[in-house]
Amino acid sequence: MSEKVGVYICHCGANIAGVVDVAALSHWAGELPDVAVARDYKFMCSSLGQELIEKDIQELGLTRVVVAACSPHLHEATFRNCCKRAGLNPYLFEMASIREQVSWVTANKTVALEKSKALISGAVHRVIHNQALEPIIVDINPNVLVVGGGITGIQAALEIADAGYHVYLVEREPSIGGHMAQFDKTFPTLDCSACILTPKMFSAGTHPNITLLTWSEVEKVDGYVGNFTVKVRQKARKVNTELCTGCGICEQKCPKKVIDTVFEAGMGLRKAVYTPFPQAVPKYPVMDVQNCTFFQKGTCKACEKFCPTGAIDFKQEDKVVSFDVGNIILATGWDLFDCRRIPQYGYGRLANVYNSLEFERLSNAAGPTGGKVILRDGVTVPQSVGIIHCVGSRDKNYNPYCSAICCMQSLKFAHLVKEKTGAQVYNFYIDIRTPLKAYDEFYQHILETDETRFVRGKVAEVTDAARLPGEEGKLIIQVEDTLIGKQRRIPVDMVILSAGLEPRHDAKEVAKLFGIGCSADQWFIERHPKLDPVATMTEGVFVAGVCQGPKDIPLSVTQGAAAAARVIGLVNRKQVSLEPVRASVNAEQCSGCRICNNQCPFNAISFLVDKGVSEINPALCQGCGTCVAACPAGAITGSHYTNAQILSQIEGILEVELGQREAVPA
């Protein structure tokens, strides 16, 4: 059956017509086989231009349309809609980019005409093989999963819950709150971190639309936008939360003390049954089985004996719960750079070298020293403190990126040390980066009032090897003071390493679990770095906060809210339509060789064991076509990019050229 193709050539004012002889082109195109009509017009994208096409479709009965104009990224949607209005399936349309690829990049008019012909010939050959396609419409489950109960996740969950939709908030630790709960003060306003965070934690814990799943991890995600099924493992708390009142007696009576390497960053102790901090949400404690005397030695049960409600349940097992959601927000946060990786800074070897989280706990009034800044001996107040910026950041040996928060954090530390100890403070920096609202003012404030000495230079090493008088018993910071061009050795009592932010150690596995991408640094990849920063390439999965890249609290909160807004928008629409560019398996031809099974990063391909064939879930498929190219049996077809379409396009492109070649003497 022969098709009736209409070819429309745009002048784009003089943008195309100034270089390409559009009249000759249109005349030539009219002579092509299968072409019923070819026209050129000043602006095809104008309403008059579109009407021209619509009229031809209706009056001449065109079955295919080709527009030679600008890039399809500009007007493909415009012309598809135009075809649709005239009753032609929008996928029976092709575009040839003769502006971006011809008239704007070619000076020679003869050559420009030839190249335009080749592109149009390719499009005409291809469009004949195009198939009518319908967008895929799917319903959206209004429930939402938020992974990560730090400030970002809390913000996102509250926004969605307040909008009237149900949220499952999953947190790995016993309490929500995240790193922010560990901090003392927040820059640049220096308000107390807990004072601004705990009300939000409380709201999240009590909101009727939020199901809180702490001490839990997502194990499996199936499905696609609007229709995810999630499996979450709730680790055994060994505490029956139905009965527990959060009175804290078990924790008081527990005889076993353990160094708390998580919340207290190794600076303080906790019990074997514990809530990480007094304002924890939920209030229920968890039992650390590895350290519990009963679990290790078989006797004790002090907690059980004293529990007034009988909530201790030594036999409690992990529980896997499953639920459906329509959208997912990942707010999984960050890990602190391990300062042991820089041995020359002495962390872990020299007692009075601290990392930033340790200092936060040291300085926190609710922390192990009650907010007193003292050395590890527990008594000595430091007389001099060195704060080292960019530890593990901006360094190709560790992380090449800037961690974004360390400058402000270090300035905050300088202020807190000065305020609490009166010590001489040194800040060692490469550049001071204070770009956001009221940040540089904070820097100026420190410069004006705190007598902090700023030394521009990346510290080479911290050592206890005294060489010069006055160095004995001190930590010596060896650095080039680059502003005077001299190496200096500065003895101090305490060193604080402003360690960088790193992606979670398991970011890659988490990304795989949710079918999204990780950058080379292992931050989650957003759909567009500027214009779509919270969406991902996987429909229905959003990212927010530091898991997407280093950022401070205000930006994390903003992203949490932004992701929530995107989700609420989708849920309100109730349905989502997906581009029908999808791959599908012809089960007849599929022999179940399983070559394609690991080709899909979106987990769209599954192997049906009973039928012995592979199958593609069209809603999960993103249409890249990689599996189509991989299938050795030719059993996978990629709609709108079929082999027939592409091979014909190649033929079309080369048909014109061969004609030209023949004319050139060999």
């Binding site: 041995p343 020359q344 050592t463 005294a466 060489r467």
Partner: protein, 306 residues
């Protein structure tokens, strides 16, 4: 018996003869066969790079080609030779054009570099190929908790080769511990001794050597073990001059690690080239012989002003 192509380097011919003797003695006692390269040449040390990088690669390539002729991996006790040979090998393997160019020159001596072998430092062979556990088994004469400061120096650990730890490696300590001695922890074990500046910038060299000796002594070293002839000469032969320069009173034996290892493996001091020291090692030998003593006092008396 595992065999290696052994490239001693110029210093080991005379200046560091005891290193040569003790290295071979240790190898023999550890069942390693060291076949000395036939007609090896100077690797150019660091000085060559200042004149002609290409020539420096050529000099090392000749030695590598000699080793390839034996179809053996190369081992060298000299840190400088090691660094040059190792990185020449890496560079030529990576850059085929350069290798081709150099092979043209090597034809003059009927040699060809193909990049088929590896380059090891003596320490690596003992610590990795033989293994610390194996050495521990073969120790017949424990070094009696002698406080030995392992001195890594520069060119064995630096530049970085892969992703290995370069700020605080532990293999030298482990080797020393295997002999029954006590490895001394001190901060400057990776720091440059200044040896390569001995002739060109003596003041700097002495100052660096002084810092190093001082740091080792502060941490109670009875002896410093080196794995590089230049470090040994700088720290030992110039100790008197350093004392004069800074008014110090260092008298620390600087021994090749192979001399200490050799003793532990049961060799006699004579077999290990003892006797050519400018700073006497008799106290060290005495402690090893005296089984009753398990700790030694540092012979160093701290200088008042430092």
């Amino acid at each position: 018996m595992k065999a290696y192509a052994y490239f001693p380097g110029c210093s080991l011919e005379k200046m560091a003869l005891s290193y040569h003797q003790s290295a071979l003695e240790c190898a023999r006692r550890l069942d390693l066969e060291f076949q000395e390269l036939d007609d090896w040449n100077c690797c150019g040390t660091t000085a060559y790079f200042a004149i002609d990088q290409l020539l420096s690669y050529t000099l090392s390539a000749r030695n590598l080609a000699l080793a390839e002729k034996k179809k053996l991996d190369m081992v060298t006790p000299c840190a400088g030779c090691y660094k040059n040979a190792y990185f020449t090998n890496v560079t030529l393997k990576r850059d085929a054009d350069l290798a081709e160019h150099i092979n043209e020159a090597l034809k003059e001596d009927d040699l060809h570099y193909a990049g088929t072998n590896q380059v090891y430092h003596l320490l690596e062979v003992f610590c990795n190929d033989v293994g610390v556990q194996e050495i521990k088994k073969r120790v017949t004469q424990s070094l009696n908790s002698l406080r030995v400061a392992p001195y890594y120096g520069c060119q064995i650990v630096r530049p970085r080769k892969d992703h290995e730890e370069v700020e605080n490696p532990r293999y030298f300590e482990d080797l020393i511990a295997a002999t029954g001695a006590t490895p001394v922890e001190y901060q400057l074990k990776m720091r440059c001794c200044g040896g390569s500046l001995l002739i060109t910038s003596r003041k700097a060299a002495f100052s660096m050597a002084r810092n190093l000796l001082q740091n080792a002594m502060d941490n109670g070293a009875a002896v410093i073990a080196t794995a590089c002839p230049m470090c040994q000469v700088n720290l030992e032969c110039y100790q008197q001059q350093i004392n004069q320069e800074f008014g110090a009173r260092f008298s620390v034996p600087i021994l090749y690690f192979t001399q200490l290892l050799g003793l532990a493996l049961g060799a006699s001091p004579k077999e290990l080239g003892f006797g050519s020291e400018l700073v006497s090692a008799s106290a060290v030998l005495a402690q090893i012989r005296n089984k009753e003593t398990s700790t030694t006092q540092s012979p160093y008396i701290r200088h008042a002003t430092s």
